[in-house]
């Protein structure tokens, strides 16, 4: 459709900006690289908003159903007439929604970074990486082709690697970026195998065709995939589960969540970007994109649901014990992404049954605002205090009035207190869970209570607690740091009132969703109770939290050490993989592979020593050999001429 072809610019502008700043950001344009990056993103965000308007209100709807619009479609790699990889730009409700979220959050991060990263040595490089990150995520969400998703998926991985390790002179940052990259790469292996299985079974890489072929009952592709099985599980389930492993790795789902808390080593605005709009929601987006397939295959959908529920619960428990402000926020992200996952997991496909899917996307939408708000507040606080540890904070209420209000809005929103946005999306996820799986509903309610507790634990310890007399180098921060906070706080308050179910549903047909007030009373009361409990414990400094921690004893320690996940992974990798696989492999490499090569070399040397006497350096010896050779050849020639 030609009137939507400007969408391409949403992708091309950040890419061009990356090239420009990557080449000139170090010296030539260093000073103004931030302004360039931000203004480019401003244009991108404006275009994305226009796309939202045009898609949802002008062109998207056909017979009451939002249909898929292929803005651009071309063949990229053609291996044979049957096997080819296409690229393109596709618009459907979730991709348009993601375009909007990614560009807006990225814009806010760009603006915030103007103040936060000021005076940084590699300022231009930072903005170049930021553009690359935005570009890869934007391209991921509009992909028409599952292989195209994979390419940009990896690009998201590499740009997050670059940004997490931005302070590359800090060993912990280097380790964190390596960890993030390796863990997600490990999961991407599953993704790749999953893609291969699905596309082999369906005979296409194009998502739309793939979904149609594999959800049509009695289609040859579907029959092929359900009848062929491995270890008693059908190929379709294998493919979807493996794809989900890739999504779980990127989305930091249990048990692949270990990289996300460490990824806090990057600059704080980057954390906001990773957590709110790019990277971690990519996994949720992937499952949502292939949702018709998942809802068709119940067993893989159950895996999604239970992994989501566990990932919602465990990090929430861990977050209650952590003292690093960014780590608490990181665990809360895992927990909220867990919500989205099980929201998808409990959803059905059509009509009212699609509530979970719609709620999950809604939560993704609201989460993007309040989580980026919380992270940017954390950035402002860290910028002021120069420490990540909440023990160094406290009593910041008076010093940072705007940040205080913004952070409070974020906390209320994530805790699901009406009328803030988190309330609406969370309630819908919970009611979807209530309708299909009571166990998951219970986990969800309990987690929501924990969320309220640890977020307000954080809030009270940062902004209340003791009043300090601190000497500060500067005030709350420049306008560029305050403005995004205000914008995001307003969005986080209002985003819940968007009638989301009219726009985003699994079968693209609007449904009527309503918040059931009676139903909401129970979780909200629990959350409020948790907030009051947190206030009692942390509002002023007292000995109660320490007492509770000691009375919980082992459980507290267990949660404080993050359930020993890092230790388990280290044990598995260092003790088991290194000793049992790495060492023997190294031995074989050293002694057998290298040994063969050494043997070859040694033999060559021996033979050379034996025959080097010929090279005497005496000219006349050579002449003798030469003539002897000629005589020998002549003799041979004469002999063979005569014999036949």
């Amino acid at each position: 459709m030609s009137h939507l072809s400007y969408i391409v610019w949403i992708l091309l502008l950040p890419l061009a900006n990356f090239a420009l700043l990557g080449l000139t950001g170090r010296k030539l344009l260093k000073g103004i690289s931030g302004v360039i990056g931000t203004s480019v993103l401003l244009v991108v965000a404006a275009l994305a908003s226009m796309a939202v308007y045009q898609y949802f209100f002008v062109y998207g709807k056909l017979d009451g159903i939002y249909h898929l619009i292929n803005v651009l479609q071309f063949e990229w790699l053609k291996f044979s007439p049957n096997v080819s990889i296409g690229m393109g730009v596709a618009l459907d409700p979730i991709s348009v929604m993601m375009l909007f979220i990614v560009s807006v959050v990225s814009l806010m991060v760009h603006v915030f970074s103007l103040g936060y990263m000021k005076g940084e040595e590699r300022f231009g490089t930072y903005y170049a990486f930021l553009s690359l990150f935005t570009f890869s995520m934007l391209s991921l969400v509009i992909s028409t082709n599952i292989f195209q998703i994979y390419i940009f998926w990896e690009l998201v991985g590499i740009s997050s690697y670059l940004l997490i390790g931005f302070y590359y002179d800090k060993p912990s940052a280097v380790a964190a970026s390596k960890k993030a990259f390796i863990v997600t790469r490990f999961a991407d292996l599953g993704f790749l195998v999953g893609i291969l299985i699905l596309s082999f079974g369906a005979g296409t890489l194009d998502i739309h065709t793939l979904i149609i072929r594999l959800t049509t009952v009695q289609s040859p592709q579907l029959l092929g995939m359900t009848t062929s099985s491995f270890l008693g599980i059908s190929a379709l389930t294998w493919g979807l589960t493996l794809v989900f492993i890739g999504g779980a790795g990127k989305s930091a789902m249990f048990p692949l969540h270990v990289w996300l808390p460490d990824a806090m080593e990057g600059p704080t605005p980057i954390s906001a970007l990773i957590h709110a709009a790019t990277m971690v929601v990519a996994g949720v987006y992937l499952v949502a994109r292939l949702f018709p397939l998942y809802s068709f295959d119940v067993s893989s959908l159950n895996i999604v649901a239970y992994v989501g529920a566990i990932s919602a619960l465990l990090p929430a428990i861990i977050a209650c014990t952590q003292n690093d402000i960014k780590r608490v926020l990181a665990y809360s992200t895992i927990s909220q992404i867990g919500y989205m996952m099980f929201g998808l997991g409990v959803s059905g496909y059509s009509g009212e049954l699609g509530l979970g899917y719609m709620a999950s996307m809604f939560h993704l939408f609201t989460h993007a605002f309040f989580k980026s708000l919380l992270f940017l507040c954390a950035g402002a606080i860290i910028h002021l205090v120069q420490s990540n540890d909440v023990k160094d904070m406290g009593g910041l209420r008076k010093l940072m009035p705007i940040t205080h209000i913004a952070f409070l809005v974020g906390c209320l929103s994530i805790a699901g207190i009406p009328p803030f946005s988190g309330f609406f999306s969370k309630e819908e996820i919970l009611s979807a869970a209530y309708q299909s799986n009571k166990l998951i509903y219970g986990v969800g309610v309990f987690t929501s209570m924990l969320t309220a507790f640890y977020m307000f634990r954080l809030y009270f310890r940062i902004f209340h607690s003791r009043a300090q007399n601190r000497e500060l180098a500067h005030g709350e921060g420049s306008l560029s740091m305050k403005l995004p906070l205000v914008v995001l706080a307003v969005s986080a308050t209002l985003a819940g009132f968007v009638p989301f179910s009219l726009f985003v549903t699994p079968d693209h047909a609007p449904i009527e969703a309503h918040v059931d007030l009676i139903f909401s009373i129970f979780p909200v009361v629990l959350s409020v109770a948790a907030i009051l409990f947190a206030a009692r414990l942390y509002r002023t400094q007292n000995a109660r939290p320490a007492k509770i921690a000691t009375s919980l004893g082992k459980i507290y320690r267990f949660a404080y050490r993050k359930f020993y996940f890092d230790e388990i992974y280290l044990f598995v990798s260092k003790k088991i993989i290194f000793n049992l696989i790495g060492r023997p492999a190294a031995w074989i490499d050293k002694h057998i592979v290298d040994g063969l090569m050494n043997l070859l070399a040694a033999t060559t040397v021996k033979i050379s020593v034996l025959i080097k006497g010929f090279q005497s350096g005496k000219l006349q010896n050579y002449a003798v050999y030469f003539f002897a050779g000629i005589i020998g050849l002549a003799a041979l020639f004469v002999y063979f001429r005569q014999s036949p």
Binding site: K612, Q615, L619
Partner: protein, 104 residues
């Protein structure tokens, strides 16, 4: 002239060839070695001319070939003498035994 048989001419050329070969193998002086090589070349020339005259009377191939060989030999002599002069400059000798660096 025609009463000289081919065999006798071949004897002469073979003799010349082996005299040249002997010189190539036994002499130490590079100039002498060069002269030996010229001898060998000329023995070949004699062969060419003789065979042309006795076996292919209507053609001139052998003679033409000989003229080419003489030309090449002249060029080769120029190159060889240049090499010898350079060798003398670097080693202060034109004895092949003295220039034995190119060995293992």
């Amino acid at each position: 002239m025609n009463n000289v048989p081919l065999v006798q001419i071949l004897f002469v050329s073979t003799g010349l060839f082996f005299i040249g070969m002997y010189g190539l193998f036994s002499r130490r002086n590079l100039i002498t070695i060069l002269m030996s090589i010229e001898l060998m070349l000329n023995s070949v020339n004699i062969n060419f001319v003789a065979f042309n005259k006795y076996l292919y009377t209507t053609q001139l191939n052998g003679v033409i070939f000989t003229i080419f060989i003489i030309t090449i030999a002249a060029a080769e002599a120029a190159v060889a003498i240049a090499i010898i002069i350079n060798l003398y400059r670097s080693h202060h000798s034109i004895d092949v035994e003295d220039a034995g660096e190119l060995k293992y």
